[in-house]
Symmetry: C2
């Protein structure tokens, strides 16, 4: 049996070697803060849709080292006293985060972990593993949602996904605006609608397509989506589907629709729509699949293809062409002292201290186009923000309403009551995406959403940079 | 707790709706064969390295529907008698396969499942989910292995991988020729060497880099790989690493090396090598990481960068830029009758019947550059092979030795004794890759490995195509 259970050893080895050093050096009670953020928006897009928080909090609430974990670490010659510590390990940190389903931008802290330095460091790998991937797929899905308008979207990617990553992808797709998945495991785990009827092999296993359709309809009179391209879509598949759909009508059932999985989907969908309508089967839907992504969907709808449901596989669940969000997890405070990561490139220098992110709202209560990163101690409203790398560029945001984005979602290892229902998260995501002006959502050269920092944050960063330079 | 256990519901819904149709239609004892093959080589490469077989066979041996699975399917209104069948479900099929770690080519059957039509159909999703992804990563890894020559390769991709896909990726990388992984979970599950020492945050958490190095060395005197680019690689990191390495020497220990994670890795590695050598630390290794792939490794070694170990993340574990192998699973026989999938494009018409693949060996016992797909009944040696889509192109291979590639690896649901040890598989993979002439391994316009079919197979395919056309 193959099984993946997320326990303490679901981490990179260096988290444990560092943990042991902290432990044996007597630093295990030192407090630390880490920020999660990303640097580059995937898909040449204008935003990222943040996903994975619920899964992460569930993991953190029950994180422990199993007996097998400890045995393995013992074989790896970890120190007995550190192993004793890990045996009793529980994550007792505090987490502040943007809400799952919010729209987020580069170099803004999305989530902060506060805890002792061992626990805060240890969770880096699992945190990045979950948040980077789910946010990638939710973002990709939201782009498809944007162009698909009111058409339904279904995840068909299980077979091309990266092993059990398929399950997280199916869930993240829902956050991005999908309606269903072919993935039964994900449907069961997350309460998603499962979708799927027949493959070509089913039809090939019968002596004729007609017999196959009829057999399926007999067993599943309420679930019929006939796959019509096994032999010849227009001369065989659709006529057979129509005949069987008419037979179903006589028995008081309605076929759901037909599915196209090859050929020119624009041409075929129009022709098939006419054929169905002429047969009086106005209610039958057209499902299309076959190497779809947001660009193909857009093109099909520009051609007025009457497709009702898009089934999307590889390019959704692997996030092609980018396949990873570059999210990182960086130390911002240790033992009360702010910290930065130095780099020759100012763009890669991190932001020190405990921070809040303020989303600026315009007069229509839409997103204004700028987030402000401030020190938490500055409160939840700020006046001037500065370009993080070009000090002479500033913006007065004092007359705009500002919303704090980081909320406490876990305190001392216990999750704080939140919208855990996936539908709520998906609903919230659509609400937030609707507040993002179209110029940030378009595919061609989207507007760059500004992220500014407060004067005080900039000053602390400069003081720390000077200190490091002097050393 | 987040956990992914592969049970019966780890599948696409349509496998179950088709299964129920077969069951209620009284077809559950009908026998079927399906072939696994792919159409397109990823990475514009010349071959695919086949991986994932052991994981798949482990899954098939224990595949069952859990109580939760059945409850969920009941809620989905599956038929009580079909649910009873699933309650007692065991995979009792027979599997023929290429050996894991073999080099394989497009449109050649890599694996065949024979069983009753329900079980053979049901396992499609899990089979594709495992084999497509592991083969993708093993292939990518083998390209890095090819250019890295005798340098060590380590998987650092956990944080950017697709959730638990990270674990399968770490394992597939070993098959492709990697030596170690940062992924403790994968190391534990598959017996891989785990690697990893310190992150930037460790160094930043101390008042100085020197203190951090010294603290780490005190706790891990035999595990020191100093990360030297936190502040200034040449003016701070390397001098501090040298000082601490010298202190270790006095205590009878040897530091393993230093790690470069940013900047010009060619220039830095040369300068650092000189600095270490001048300090008499000839034994200290140089590890390099930061957005590496096969092309960057190749370029670094062409510049004679003295790097001993490459740490590779995102581009390995996500298989960038391709992110999926397009493997499919197609019906080839049902109830003793050969079947094909028809398509307007001859290239997408599948090969019917029970087949064997013969690898042709040249006079030096290297791979000749052609595989022959024949009907199993034709035996394990053939004379003429034909281009699968251009009948007038043929090749006489009668004078060459031929090796059958498909072997029985599971009989009636029980795995047949095989090399299950990951090191054996990895060793086999390197042996097979060594038999593949360089022109198929190079990155620029690799030679196309020919796949021919026997006359008899071509004839059966044509007869079936004609039959379908007449219908």
């Amino acid at each position: 049996m193959l099984s993946f259970t997320i326990t303490g050893n679901y981490t990179d080895l260096y988290q444990l070697t560092m943990g042991q050093a902290y432990f044996l050096e007597g630093r295990k009670e030192h407090r630390a803060c880490f920020d999660y953020f990303f640097r580059k928006i995937p898909f040449v897009g204008g935003y990222v849709l943040f996903a994975g928080l619920e899964d992460l909090l569930n993991v953190l609430e029950s994180l422990h080292f199993s007996d097998e974990d400890i045995t393995f670490l013992k074989e790896m010659k970890f120190h007995p006293s550190f192993l004793d510590y890990l045996k009793g390990f529980q994550f007792c940190g505090t987490v502040y985060s943007c809400m799952e389903g919010d729209v987020v931008f580069p170099n803004c802290p999305i989530l902060r972990v506060e805890g002792n330095i061992i626990e805060a460091q240890l969770v880096e790998t699992i945190l990045l593993n979950i948040l980077n991937f789910e946010s990638l797929v939710a973002t990709k899905a939201s782009r498809m949602r944007y162009v698909a308008e009111d058409r339904a979207l279904s995840d068909f990617g299980f077979r091309r996904a990266h092993g059990p990553g398929a399950v997280l992808a199916a869930k993240a797709a829902i956050i991005g605006g999908f309606q269903s998945t072919s993935n039964v495991y994900a449907a069961q785990l997350y309460g998603i609608e499962a979708a799927g009827t027949m493959a070509h092999s089913f039809i090939e296993s019968y002596e004729s397509e007609f017999e196959a359709f009829r057999a399926f309809a007999k067993v599943h009179p309420c679930r019929c989506i006939f796959l019509v391209d096994t032999y010849d879509t227009l001369r065989s598949g659709v006529p057979n589907a129509i005949t069987v759909a008419k037979e179903l009508e006589k028995e008081g059932h309605k076929a759901i629709g037909i599915r196209l999985d090859s050929g020119d989907l624009a041409y075929l969908s129009k022709t098939v729509r006419n054929m169905l309508d002429e047969a009086g089967l106005y209610y039958m839907k057209i499902v299309a699949s076959n190497q779809l992504d947001e660009y193909v969907i857009k093109s099909l709808l520009e051609q007025e293809a009457p497709i009702d449901i898009f089934g999307i596989g590889t390019k959704l669940v692997t996030g092609q062409p980018d396949s990873a969000l570059d999210g990182v997890y960086k130390l911002s405070i240790v033992s009360g002292k702010p910290r930065i990561k130095i780099s020759e490139s100012l763009k890669k220098v991190t932001l020190p201290g405990i921070k809040q992110v303020l989303r600026v709202m315009d007069n229509d209560d839409m997103f204004f186009g700028a987030d402000a990163v401030v020190l938490s101690e500055e409160g939840e409203k700020t006046n001037m923000i500065f370009h993080p790398f070009e000090e002479d560029k500033s913006l007065d945001i004092s007359r705009y309403r500002q919303e704090p984005l980081l909320h406490k979602v876990m305190e001392n290892g216990k999750g704080i009551s939140r919208k855990t229902d996936l539908n709520n998260i998906a609903h919230f995501a659509q609400k937030r995406l609707a507040l993002l002006p179209a110029e940030y959502r378009r595919f061609e050269n989207p507007h760059i959403y500004k992220v500014g920092i407060s004067k005080k944050l900039m000053e602390i960063r400069e003081i720390l940079r000077d200190q490091y330079k002097r050393k």
